[in-house]
Point group: C2
Chain length 340, copies 2
């Protein structure tokens, strides 16, 4: 079963040039059962005939969606077996995890899924974990983040590679994938939650993108993908500058290991606003604030502390507190004795 | 006739902190006759009672829209007279200018209008030219640019200040302005072209923004304005880096005055992609390419010249040609002898 050169060689190219995959690498493919990850699995299987790549597959059951989720899990296991791939399956109760940790169901499911995939990759001896996001997912993501109020890092969309996670389909349109699955008569599972209009992402897909395509730009997905790629290059430069500035500022006011982060207010104010905000974000991350829960309002709150000329404090996600004390910005979890 | 403190003091604040206006400055207000610039004129008049500001007003007739445009011109003249402001009026034939220079009607009108305003400002001894763009115009602009495929500089929207041009209403919603005009019973002119759905901007206003507000984010305009402000800070840092890199690269390979720009390919390739693209854009501008007509495809065309290891050339807007010759990128208008 050979796919046309164009689509598989595009994915092969992305693996090498975008995802940092090298001959001999092990790749764990996350199969949801939907068309994208199913196709990714077939395509990687075909590529592995040409390169030496070690493949394994994994499926995670979130403990939601009832019988449909059970069907997806069985489908993923069968697919892996038919392709002769080692298979890892995991299961958790995402609703309970969400309740326990005060997360949204989506956040809880994501946290559990990524944790499982990292463990499965370790078990499989895999260097990379391949996810099935497409160019359409990227366009939706950019619009979602724009509408939620992301800054540059968010508008850069999802990356081809972050840590062990790679997305070899990010340059491929969903329509190409569906056409290819159809042509090859390869089965996959439909996920009914993908059309539930209560989900913001589904409204972007079913209402917003069609309107934009019809009335504003027939190639809107391609345009958004190109913009995201350019913005990711921009963010990379600013992020590097901010990391260098953060190291410099931390060295000027070193924190005992595990102690609060202390940065001189004058040093922060000497940075350009774009760098200062990123240094604050890095410092908050170092102090233990969960980055995914930080929004622009939190960073602007810290800016306000810096801008006014007196002591004050604000509370941030993850139990992190930002305090201004004299000439320092102090970031810590829980209470810190005033004299420390 | 005193307006409530909130709206006028917000504009006063923007004048000082965002637009760099100082006591004693002269400001030329561009009046189209529409609600925004009419309100701006009244607000500045009120502020000028408190600060020492010298005000003048100007109106430009584009030679389009027939009697409605004549009505607007008469309205602007009356408004200026009623407020006791020196008044400058100008008129041109934008359609003829567009035909003569191969511009769109919108581009031609803009070029003529800005040229007239600069001359009028010189005549009035004005330090700044105030334009009536609002927070709603900014939100529309960000969406328009996103849909047209702008990169970071474009997504930063329109600035509070660029050269002599300032936009003191950029933090004010159009609804506030209309409510205030209504409350004060101040007259203004309606522009029918603002509802013509053939204009992309009008479709953004009448179709896209209402959909986004209703189904995605009730405060979408505020969100887009905040994002644009953050992105403008990001762009400022990258633009500074690119200007420094361009100077460095130009010094390494100086061009005779008026001669072609020559940059070493190896030097360009040593820069991060985000900086390299901006250096190319600065170099194209220095070579005479009109920035407003450069799109991402042009910059990516130059990137492709740099990426492949052989000579080649591409033609760009404004009669500028980019050539790769051995180890140099050469940018020039018209022909350059091979030996030069």
């Amino acid at each position: 079963m050979t796919m046309p050169k164009s689509i598989v060689s595009k994915i092969e190219d992305a693996l090498r040039r975008r995802c940092g995959v090298r001959p001999g690498h092990g790749i764990l493919v996350a199969i949801s059962g939907g068309p994208d990850s199913t196709f990714l699995c077939h395509a990687l299987r075909e590529i592995a005939h040409r390169w030496p790549l070690r493949l394994a597959a994994a499926h995670f059951h979130h403990g939601i969606r009832g019988p449909a989720a059970d069907r997806d899990a069985a489908f993923a296991a069968t697919l892996a077996r038919d392709l002769g791939l080692p298979f890892f399956s995991g299961r958790a109760d995402a609703p309970a995890h969400a309740r326990r940790h005060g997360l949204s169901l989506e956040e809880a499911a994501r946290e559990l899924r990524l944790g499982f995939l990292r463990e499965a990759a370790a078990g499989a001896g895999a260097d990379r974990i391949a996810l099935g996001h497409t160019a359409d997912d990227q366009a939706e993501e950019v619009l979602l983040r724009l509408l939620r109020g992301s800054a540059l890092a968010g508008l850069s969309g999802i990356p081809w590679r972050r840590g062990p996670f790679v997305r070899p389909l990010l340059g491929t349109r969903k329509a190409e994938i569906l056409a290819e699955l159809e042509r090859r008569r390869l089965p996959w599972c439909r996920d009914e939650t993908n059309s539930d209009p209560r989900h913001l992402r589904n409204r972007v897909r079913s209402r917003l993108l069609p309107l934009l395509r019809e009335h504003f730009n027939p190639a809107v997905e391609a345009t958004l993908n190109r913009t995201a790629a350019l913005l990711a290059d921009d963010e990379a430069v600013l992020e590097d500058l901010a990391r260098a500035a953060f190291s410099r500022l931390e060295n000027d006011a070193p924190a005992p290991s595990g102690g609060p982060i202390r940065l001189r207010v004058a040093d922060l104010l000497a940075e350009a606003p774009a760098i200062r905000r990123r240094v604050v974000r890095l410092a908050l991350e170092a102090a233990g604030a969960p980055l995914r829960r930080l929004v622009a309002a939190h960073l602007l709150g810290v800016e306000a502390l810096l801008a006014r000329n007196r002591d004050g404090r604000i509370d941030l996600p993850g139990g992190v507190r930002a305090e201004r004390r004299d000439d320092r910005l102090v970031l810590h979890r829980g209470e810190v004795p005033a004299a420390s």
